[in-house]
Amino acid sequence: MPKPHINLLYIDDEEANLNGFKAEYRKEYNIYTTTSVSEAEEILAKHEIHIVLADQRMPVMTGVQFFEKIRHQYSEPVRILITGYSDINAAIDSINKGEVFRFIDKPWDNDYVRTAIENAYDIYKTRKELRERNTELQKAYDELDKFVYSASHDLRAPLMSILGIVQLSELETGNSNQYLKLIEQSVHKLDKFILSIIDYYKNSRSDFHIGAIDFNKLIGDITESLNFMPGFSKIDFNIHINQVSNFKSDPIKLRIILSNIISNAVKYHDKDKVKSTIDVNISCTSKECSIIISDNGIGLKDGEKDNIFKMFFRGNNPNSGSGIGLYIVKEAVTKLKGSIDVESNQTIGTTFKILIPALD
């Protein structure tokens, strides 16, 4: 098993102790030593120190005082106190107060020190993982909050429309066909929102499924699945796929990315233009794939470009969706270790450029 790269800081007023320590452990750990408190703080500021060892008996301040001084600003390194037997009460006290993780008594036993360092590093690693988990959890909480808020509106809105239509049709007779049409629209709207939540779930929770990507088939499937959309038949698709070699990635995530962007291009086509076009250019090597999707649709308004990838951001447009589609796209691109850029204005239309590296 390869040894982890452990960064140690050892502060002691006796150079001989520092040198002896270095001589014993320099091959195993990355060691910083100093006799001065201020230099110790500089080292802590500059380097990612995992474990700090300090001698208790130092002229300027004791080891425990040193730990007290640094523990708030540098809370991450695990602290180990080195002390002679006569300081035992100070050591016990500091352990009980939680200022140090271990103490090592002088003269030290090399294997004992080794064990103390490895245990301290385990603590460091565990705490770090815990912090990372907490950050992830916080993000999940925030998303859930937004989700509940959005769902209360977006899931209910189409249902309330339908309920309104039903109540209206009870008051009127003869218009039932028109009302059925409206109900159908509302059902599609609700279904689309539910599907996008499923996409989101698949994207954020599921593991990678790496496979060979056949872009011709993928784009064909996507355009076929969108042909129910209003205005679809009037749009000219220009699809150029240059895929000479095998390209591996996650087909589910790629489908989510492409189908969201293409369905947006269909949805926001410009009805005032004589001809609506969507150009899909895909160029692929075995290492990387470039995907460019351009439309001559209504484009983004000023200020929208920076926000379109945010969760539940909805464009300034009467037909804007739930604000979840492009958020999922961005998340999926990030998971595939790729990048996405958008260029858009209201006269020319919108272009998305995506770069995706091959995954193994």
Binding site: Y149, S152, H153, R156, A157, L159, M160, S161, L163, G164, I165, Q167, L168, L171, E172, L182, Q185, S186, R314, G315, N316, N317, P318, N319, S320
Partner: protein, 134 residues
């Protein structure tokens, strides 16, 4: 009945809901003048140009409109046309069940009430008629 003189201004990003609500109002015979908007800017411009001609306007504003929320639009309307809004009534209409929104509605003085979607005859008559009768 003198209620026909009221003018309704509906703002909602959903075309379907605009259509439904407009038809409800027509059927209720509360008014024949119903103006519908899907965005806030055109609403503000419409009021700015026509406020001299319009009297006793009743606004039904959806909570979620594309570029701002319903409360913000109500606030802008009041700010730009204080005397006009004084004589008008603003209702916020929403399918949201979020409590904070409802509390907000109670706190903003120019907003008459919060109405839940769908707008139906009973809501219309029970909530609007007391206001119209004032």
């Amino acid at each position: 009945m003198g209620t026909q003189k009221y003018t309704f201004v509906l703002v909602d990003d959903s075309d379907i809901d605009l259509l439904i609500n407009k038809r409800f109002i027509e059927l209720s015979e509360l008014s024949k003048d119903v103006y519908t908007f899907t965005e806030s800017q055109p609403t503000l411009e419409f009021i700015k140009t026509n406020k001299e001609k319009l009297t006793d306007v009743i606004f039904l504003i959806d909570l979620q409109i594309p570029d701002m929320n319903g409360f913000e639009l109500a606030e802008k309307l009041t700010l730009q046309n204080p005397a006009f809004v004084e004589k008008s009534k603003i209702f916020i209409l929403s399918s949201s069940i979020d409590l904070e929104d409802k509390l907000n509605a109670a706190n903003i003085k120019n907003i008459e009430a919060m109405l839940s979607k769908p707008l139906n005859m009973n809501t219309l008559l029970s909530k609007l008629e007391p206001v119209l009768a004032k």
